[in-house]
Amino acid sequence: MSGSEHPDHLWRNPDPKRSYDVVIVGGGGHGLSTAYYLARNHGITNVAVLERGWLAGGNMARNTTVIRSNYLWDESAAIYEHSMKLWETLAEDLDYDILFSQRGVLNLTHSLHDTRETRRRVYANQLNGIDAEWLTPEDIKEFCPIVNLSPDIRYPVMGASLQRRGGIAKHDYVAWAFARQADAFGVDLVQNCEVTGFDLDGGRVTGVQTSRGHIAAEKVALCAAGHSTVLASMVGLDLPIQSHPLQALVSELLEPALNCVAMSNAIHVYVSQAHKGELVMGAGIDAFNSYAQRGSPHIIEHQLAAAVELFPIFSRAHVVRTWGGIVDVSPDASPIVGLTPIENLFVNCGWGTGGFKATPASGWVYAHTIARGEPHQLNAPFSLDRFTRGALIDEHGAAAVAH
């Protein structure tokens, strides 16, 4: 792993050319991995990734880095498990240490209904070949001793699912690793380049207008998370996406105290301890729509109350920093990846509160979709037209973040 000693540059900083085979709009994790797999899996390297700010400075810099594949429905299990398998060899594939740590993800339950739903999900995962275990409170005590298992708390812990292969990775390194390899294949990563319009010829997209001039493109691939509807509205395309703030926070650096990722759907907190030592916690989304990359303090207060109830040992830790990203929430808490009614225009959005874990698979299937002009079998169920057909993939339970 030579990459962890940082050279001066990991990628070039090119000016945009006048035309490309593929223009990817959005230089976050998913856009970068799409560019990488377009080059590596499909030999398409005349590609630009256009980023209106700096690379991976949106949700890729703001997430809580949780990786797991314990989703309920077959369609979701298949795509998230594909992602998990890619994570397991990603450092090797990209020749860059991304600090992927399979320390286990606990999903705690606090009511009979919660318990039944979570056990159902454990069985569903097992049927899909995904590692999943049900832990009793005694098992939890052994696996993660600092969880408060007292029967006297407001919502006592009744059990938990555990995916041992789940864990965390260093988000920035993941983005840099994809960017470096995409650049090495010849992909232009163009920063400070905002897309302001699209060129249409009949029902076909032929290029983009940007803050750095006009760029012609055979194919245009949207990959802009919270700004997806802003872009889609420029071509009159309706996306069933609402943009919300999603907040997170970190504590000061602490000695190792938490050995896994712990999530609680019901009282709502998800927390892990980063390699450096800070506790990283995420909250539910703010209810209102926003593009401001900030939310309201009562969301943080609610989530800290849950954290301290579940982990009394954290009560003296300090919040050092809070921040927000803009998440693209879809009606069924599942992504939208595929074709659009406009020829040569592709869409990848709706990952909402859980996009980081999907970074490799999202790029893998999106690259396939763009290269072949038809979806990969893993993203075929996640088409935009599922909302008209009624074939929704409801993952609000497995999304594990309050919507």
Binding site: H227, S233, D238, F288
Partner: protein, 88 residues
């Protein structure tokens, strides 16, 4: 934290309110006659502008009445607050 002007009670803290999403979404008509695409748009697609958005709030911890505001989603600035039935 938003300071939301309830048209009945005046400015109150956001935690007193419940969000209701975009305002002025019209029912698409007779469900027996509208096509699937129209019905899907009504069920799943809502305005999501980066800028002024007319939206519903309920003063659930106060007067318990629904009302509308116009709020900029990029700045959180609220420029209008009006009662149900009033024009935006």
């Amino acid at each position: 934290m938003l300071l939301i002007p309830c048209p009945w009670c005046g400015p109150r803290d956001e935690i007193e309110f419940r969000y209701g999403g975009a305002a002025h979404v019209a029912y698409p008509g007779d469900p027996e006659t509208v096509d699937d695409a129209t019905w899907a748009r009504y069920l799943f697609v809502r305005p999501n502008p980066k800028g002024p958005l007319a939206e519903r709030w309920c003063h659930s911890q106060g007067c318990r009445r629904w009302f509308n505001i116009v709020r900029d989603t990029a700045t959180h600035q609220i420029t209008r607050s009006y009662r149900m039935g009033e024009a935006p």
